[in-house]
């Protein structure tokens, strides 16, 4: 029997009938504690997937729509310097989710010769002399409900990014973020 976990009901039924053409189905709506199963998708089957022989009339449980998909606030802090290492620049992005879930994000620190605007296409085009100087290398994180997950660019032990009186802006994406893309404020940094 196919593994239907996370599939749509239609896809699950199609997969089952591919191996058992005369199968019929009962679709039940049942709440699940699994936050990784989106509303309306299959959370379990009876009998459990992988057990043969495939029954003629399996039951498919469908996650009900409770209007509470995992969502995460997504904020990019302003880039700043540190005193140790002296003058090193970094930026942090913070995701706070309402469910315990897995998130996928990215965080990039941009360094510019002139004051930029918060426009990712222009940044990637090199406008204002902007260069992506650091990024967080770990995109996938486990988020606990209500606990901030910190992304950092550069990460601990990463490259030294000097301030040089240049302009900096952080840009991040988060798959379950609200919003899914965000900028920091634009700041000029120097180190005495």
């Amino acid at each position: 029997m196919p593994d239907c976990y996370g599939l749509t009901v239609a896809a699950c039924e199609s997969a089952i009938t591919a191996v058992r053409p005369d199968a019929t189905f009962t679709v039940a709506t049942a709440a699940s504690d699994d936050p990784d199963v989106a509303d309306g998708y299959v959370s379990s089957t009876i009998p459990v997937a992988g057990i043969d022989p495939a029954p003629k009339a399996p039951t498919v449980d469908k996650e009900p729509d409770n209007g509470q998909d995992p969502v995460c606030s997504w904020v990019i802090n302003n880039p700043h310097t540190s005193s140790d290492p002296a003058g090193a620049v970094d930026v942090k992005g913070r995701a706070t989710c309402n469910y315990t879930t897995t998130i996928t994000g990215s965080l990039t620190l941009w360094k510019c010769d002139d004051e930029p605007s918060a426009n990712i296409a222009s940044l990637e085009n090199g406008d204002w002399g902007c260069v992506a100087v650091a990024e967080d290398p770990v995109p996938v994180r486990n988020a606990i409900a209500g606990v901030q997950v910190t992304y950092q660019a550069p990460p601990e032990g990463g490259d030294y990014i000097s301030a040089d009186d240049k302009w900096f802006i952080g840009y991040g994406t988060l798959d379950k973020g609200t919003p899914t893309t965000a900028f920091s404020n634009i700041v000029q940094l120097s180190y005495p």
């Binding site: 904020v75 990019i76 802090n77 302003n78 880039p79 700043h80 310097t81 540190s82 005193s83 140790d84 942090k92 004051e115 606990v147 009186d165 900096f168 920091s184 404020n185 634009i186 700041v187 000029q188 940094l189 120097s190 180190y191 005495p192």
Partner: protein, 108 residues
């Protein structure tokens, strides 16, 4: 005792069961971040300057009052944020106790 409020702060009386806990740390390690606004170089706009962070780890403090006193004594005009430093699941993390990180954008 009924709930009381001061501004956005709300205080609620807890029953013994509501006060239940599974773990506690008493030898708390603190992190103190000092923040200062970077002085603008000539012809630069002071309003667009970022911040510089200086971080310290404090151990063997009697309580958070001693940490706050140390931070005040060493602030030299800088703002500061105090955290409890904890490890959970092998990963370090911070619990904010005092102050506001000035690099967090203010919602418009």
């Amino acid at each position: 005792m009924s709930p009381t409020s001061t501004g956005s702060l709300t205080a609620e009386s807890l029953s013994r069961d509501q006060r239940a806990e599974r773990w506690q740390i008493t030898d708390t390690v603190y992190i103190v971040d000092f923040w200062r606004k970077i002085s603008a170089p000539p012809a630069a706009d002071p309003e667009k300057m970022g911040h510089q962070q200086s971080s310290f780890r404090l151990s063997n403090a009697r309580d958070v009052n001693e940490v706050l006193a140390w931070a005040s004594d060493n602030a030299a005009g800088r703002s500061f944020v105090v955290y409890a430093w904890v490890t959970s699941g092998g990963e370090p993390g911070l619990i904010q106790l005092y102050g506001v990180d000035p690099t967090v954008p203010v919602p418009q």
